[in-house]
């Protein structure tokens, strides 16, 4: 049943994603700088996980972080909304700026920061509450709405942007955990964008999904990037090639190379990048 429902639009969405030519590094640079990391070092206790990472992320574009497992790309991503703060013994050094403002400055409240920098996780993790409540939760805790109608509006808008509205509009009271995996992940995206974040971090958002659901998410990302800065961690190089404008290759905690996606995949500077994207290791 579920597979059928998803299968039909999946055929449609395939077309725009795959053949779209990627813009070069210069094209990405047209966009405004949104986030910038400078000399970021990170330790888990005694063990250093990131070494002098410098990376710029631009508005209205998708930056993909690739690299073998354990290379620090997820760790870096979690620095961007200070999710590492909750991990015991994690220490971050360096400078990460959102719109030129240091997000690790003492006066920055991580809770408010996370409202501006949303996050979607590897495994779909809707709250065990109704679909409506899942999406309305963010606005509720930030006090964005006052009346029920405003909540309803924001829920509809977010679900529509996440491409889920048509599928769930008749069952908003049902539990979010009752949806299929792909729907759950789109629900999580709707939840993340319901508070109007400026940056959306996605940590392998499709690794638990089948190809059809993956295609839907990818289309969605393409749609969302018009108004957002998206940073995605992915293990699928095809996915990075399909959805991102810029790609950063991480290896052993170091940022090896960052450039326009087409450049990384066709003509990388570093031999390690070349080995990785051609599948020689990793």
């Amino acid at each position: 049943m579920e597979a059928n429902v998803e299968a039909q639009p999946a055929i449609r969405v395939q077309a725009p994603v795959v053949p779209e030519p990627k813009e070069g590094a210069s094209a990405a640079a047209q966009h405004e700088l949104k986030m910038a990391a400078r000399d970021v070092n990170l330790w888990y206790g005694e063990k250093q996980a990131l070494f002098d990472v410098n990376l710029e992320m631009f508005d209205s574009s998708v930056t993909a972080l690739i690299g073998p497992s354990g290379c620090g790309k997820s760790t870096f991503l979690r620095c961007l909304d200070r999710m590492n703060d909750v991990i015991d013994g994690c220490r971050v050094q360096g400078d990460i700026r959102l719109d030129g403002e240091d997000i690790y400055a003492p006066r920055v409240d991580p809770v408010q920061l996370r409202a501006r920098v949303g996050m979607v996780f590897q495994k779909p993790n809707p709250f065990p509450k109704s679909i409506f409540e899942n999406v309305a939760y963010g606005p509720r805790i930030h006090g964005l709405c006052k009346t029920k109608a405003e909540y309803a509006e924001i829920v509809e808008k977010s679900l529509t942007r996440a491409g889920l509205w048509d599928e769930v509009k008749d069952r908003l009271d049902e539990s979010g955990t009752g949806l299929s995996g792909g729907q759950q992940q789109r629900l999580c995206i709707a939840r993340a964008i319901s508070v109007n974040p400026e940056v959306l971090l996605m940590d392998e958002p499709c690794s638990a999904l089948d190809p059809i659901a993956t295609a839907k998410i990818e289309t969605l990302m393409d749609e969302l990037r018009k108004s957002l800065c998206i940073v995605i961690v992915t293990h699928s190089m095809q996915q990075a090639a399909r959805v991102s404008q810029r790609t950063a290759f991480f290896h052993l905690g170091k940022l090896v190379e960052v450039d326009g996606t087409s450049k990384i995949f066709t003509n990388p500077t570093d031999v390690r990048t070349q080995d990785y994207v051609t599948g020689r290791f990793g």
Partner: protein, 547 residues
């Protein structure tokens, strides 16, 4: 390469070889054995539980019914002042009523016959009249509990008659009988014993005199050496020593010789010699009372209704009037205090330790200590409560407040440990999701983690409470085993008792009625535990959410 070949099975050792087949058989046998051990263990546990419950029900069920007399009582206005019904001569009223129901009792026996009824009979009537003052001057029919021995008799728990001889006494007799010493002599069952007529004790007379009784006893003892029980002497009839006197009178020459003398047996042993079992009336009854009791039964005045008083009466010295209301109220107050203290404190402690506390030596120490506290014997907590709550803070003794505080000391570790386990079991993805949309730590806890952990927390709490409900030792130490004859003045600061301590003190009481009441109280306690566990399961299922 050659090493590897030596280690691995030879190519010829295929799956079909004998060795391989034996290995498979052995593996299956081991699997079956493991399963059998489990089944045996479960069967054993269920069997023992069954035995426990069966024995409790068997001893406890008589306590759930109570023998009562439907006694018509004339509330004589001359004896009860309508202005002050509380202080009438109710004892006299009851005695008159018994007199009317069982007419023709001689005056000197009236007191004794009155003992068929509960000693509380006058108070039962008084309490009724105080509530219904309009019955003064009328005749009312009030079911009045009969006293414990007659209650037990009517329910068939104890017999009217008991064996007169115990089994050792019967065995002595068997030994004599097997030696052919029990004979019929002069129409009486007698013992044929050799007696050395010791000149030191016996003088020829006439009339012959001497310590015949000692002589008779010592010659009987000679047949049953090494028995020091003095009740052996009761085997001979009271007139038995006279047989010696009669022989000496007949033939004084036997002094200084050993002769055969026939001693008549005492009535109980004579009955035994006839092949019957000698019986005596149970010492708790008297013939007159039994006659009156049978008369009441014939008149159809005896009833055995369900014993609601077991639940609605407080404790009493008289088993027929004793109930559990005081114990249930006391347990309820103590558990209430225990819950109000340990639930919030336990959850707060667990949340802090699990979510906020830094991991260092100090928190490690706290954690180890909490785990150790769960294993501390409850009597130690009782001593602590006695020393600190009563001794240092001077809180009232025997009060449910202190009982609840002591119980909460015991329950806290359980609640903290289960709460922490429940918090740990909430998947980290839910926390991340909440943090990711910008929830604060407090919001993550209150909106997501605690609600998801709630079923586990509630289960742990109720199990802790159930444990506290059954706890006896700490309550005994702080004196929460007071004698509470009325629930009217109970409060968390008043002396009280609790279910387990009530069971303890009933189990200590000598009256027969308390034996079945003890079992019944245990059943009631188990009933409450079952109810609490059902609540725990229901709550868990109600709040359980899938993710």
């Amino acid at each position: 390469m050659s090493d590897a070949q030596a280690i691995g099975p030879a190519a010829t050792d295929s799956w079909g070889s004998d060795q391989a087949r034996r290995r498979v058989r052995r593996r299956y046998a081991a699997d079956r054995r493991l399963q059998a051990y489990g089944i045996i263990a479960i069967a054993l546990a269920v069997g023992l539980l069954g035995v426990l419950i069966t024995s409790l029900i068997r001893t406890g069920y008589p306590a759930f019914i109570q023998t009562k007399v439907e006694l018509p009582i004339y509330i004589d206005p001359a004896k009860v002042d309508p202005q002050d019904p509380g202080s009438g001569k109710y004892r006299a009223l009851v005695r008159e009523a018994v007199d009317k129901a069982v007419p023709g009792i001689p005056d000197d026996q009236k007191r004794s016959i009155g003992k068929i009824l509960s000693s509380d009979a006058a108070y039962i009537v008084r309490d009724y009249v105080v509530i219904h003052p309009d019955v003064i001057g009328k005749t009312i029919t009030l079911p009045i509990a009969v006293s414990d021995p007659y209650d037990q008799l009517y329910k068939g728990v104890i017999p009217k008659e008991m064996d007169a001889l115990n089994w050792t006494q019967v065995r002595w007799f068997e030994r004599l009988k097997n030696r052919g010493l029990v004979v019929e002599h002069d129409g009486r069952k007698s013992l044929k014993l050799d007696v050395y007529v010791n000149p030191k004790f016996v003088e020829a007379g006439p009339p012959p005199s001497g310590d015949f009784a000692v002589l008779a006893q010592s010659s009987l003892k000679a047949y049953l050496p090494r028995i020091i029980d003095t009740s052996l002497g009761e085997m001979l009839a009271e007139d038995a020593p006279e047989a010696i006197g009669a022989r000496v009178a007949a033939d004084p020459a036997i002094i200084g010789k050993t002769v055969q003398i026939f001693f008549p047996l005492s009535p109980h042993y004579a009955t035994l010699a006839k092949g019957e079992t000698p019986k005596v009336l149970n010492s708790r009854f008297s013939e007159d009372q039994l006659k009156a009791f049978d008369l009441l039964d014939e008149k159809g005045l005896l009833r055995t209704p369900f014993n609601w008083e077991l639940f609605f009466n407080a404790d009493s010295r008289f088993p027929e009037r004793a109930g559990l209301a005081g114990a249930i109220t006391g347990s309820f107050y103590a558990l209430l205090v225990c819950f109000l203290l340990s639930f919030p404190i336990g959850i707060a402690a667990a949340v802090y330790l699990e979510e906020f506390a830094p991991k260092n030596r100090f928190t490690d120490l706290i954690e180890v200590n909490i785990n150790n506290l769960a294993a501390v014997p409850s009597v130690v907590f009782g001593l602590l409560g006695l020393a600190v709550f009563l001794g240092f803070f001077g809180l009232p003794r025997s009060a449910p407040l202190v009982g609840g505080m002591v119980l909460s000391l015991m329950t806290l570790p359980t609640i903290i440990i289960t709460t922490r386990a429940a918090l740990k079991a909430v998947p980290p993805s839910i926390r991340e999701a909440a943090l990711g949309v910008g929830a604060s730590k407090h919001q993550v806890m209150m909106h997501h983690v605690l609600p998801l952990a709630l079923p586990g927390i509630l289960t742990g709490t109720i199990i802790g409470m159930a444990q506290a409900l059954g706890e006896t030792a700490p309550l005994l130490l702080i004196g929460m085993n007071a004698f509470i004859p009325s629930v009217e003045n109970m409060g968390i600061l008043e002396p009280a008792t609790s279910l387990p301590t009530q069971i303890f003190s009933w189990a200590d009481s000598p009256e027969r009625g308390f034996v079945s009441r003890t079992s019944a109280a245990i059943l009631v306690l188990l009933g409450f535990l079952v109810i609490m566990n059902i609540i725990a399961i229901t709550l868990r299922q109600m709040f359980q959410r899938k993710w």
